[in-house]
Symmetry: C2
Subunit: 187 residues, 2 copies
């Protein structure tokens, strides 16, 4: 199982009418969903995507998109603008859940945590079982939160020196895990 | 220099009012643009993205997005829906060009061409100088066009057995090229 957890500092936390970008950069939540869960003509059933959203007017919100049960979706932003808005409004959809939960509470339920950081150890050198990856938004993870993750046992891993988009980071981690899994199952 | 070339079989080829998805899957053009050209807070100035669009009512169209001169853009789909529509309507924007050109004509101007294919040689084993990568849409490259590319000297390269989204493929190739470049410049 794989889990990606995005910390959205600014995402709007109630139904909205403008674009996802205008709603406190919720476009990043969409882009990460796309790259976490979707491949060509299939959904990654072993993957979870979580966004903890801290913008006005109702923070924090925990948006959980579960690859296992997600269905009846398309992969474009306009579709996900509708789905996120519906989730904010309390409409149910298979595989999409919303709750009033902060990230610190959620972290306590996790083991095998990783923070993406260019100062981390090379991700190629790590063996993963059932990892949870923490990703920052366009501003990055709050320093205090990152420190508390490390105190709770999270390891810093690096995919390189480049500063990638959050969604690219998710995509690249998926690719690296795909390769590791393939090597492991080859005989 | 890097160049990504998407063959969009179904993308709509005139101004439209619905979503990019409804416009013959132009959402894929957006997603590939995002992954080809954007990193965290910067544009890849050494990268070009081209889409050849073959849907109704005015095919073919050649949409060229040039990382070198692109500016005044955001990275969300709603922004790119506007920009693509404006390009279709003839409005100019720095780094975005549209022309009435088919992909076969364009191919003749290129050297060092690659087709992403799971049957290709491992991309890690290839040395790139100034590569052009051909990517299929949700249906894939037309067999006949792929064959003609190979006849013109294009090589098939593989990033693995998984079937990734077109945008993920672009993103992963960027990542692999970033790594290769880093290795080369290290002493």
């Amino acid at each position: 199982m794989r889990r990606f957890i995005l910390y959205s500092r600014t995402g709007y936390t109630a139904p909205f009418s403008g674009s996802l970008q205008e709603a406190g950069r919720l476009d990043i939540v969409y882009q990460c969903t796309l790259m976490a869960l979707f491949a060509s003509h299939y959904i990654r059933r072993d993957t979870e995507f979580h966004a903890f959203i801290y913008g006005a007017p109702n923070p924090p919100l925990h948006l959980f998109i579960d690859g296992k049960s997600l269905r009846d979706v398309r992969i474009d932003e306009a579709t996900w603008k509708r789905l996120i808005n519906e989730a904010f409004a309390g409409t149910e959809h298979p595989g999409i859940r919303i709750s009033k939960e902060g990230i610190e509470t959620y972290v306590k339920t996790l083991e095998e945590m990783y923070v993406l950081s260019e100062k981390g150890i090379n991700i190629q050198d790590v063996e993963f079982k059932s990892p949870s990856f923490f990703i920052g938004d366009h501003i990055g993870l709050p320093k205090k939160f990152e420190d508390s993750l490390v105190k709770h046992g999270a390891k810093k891993v690096s995919i390189g020196k480049e500063r990638y988009l959050a969604a690219s980071t998710v995509d690249i981690v998926n690719y690296i895990l795909d390769n590791k899994l393939r090597e492991k199952t080859q005989y």
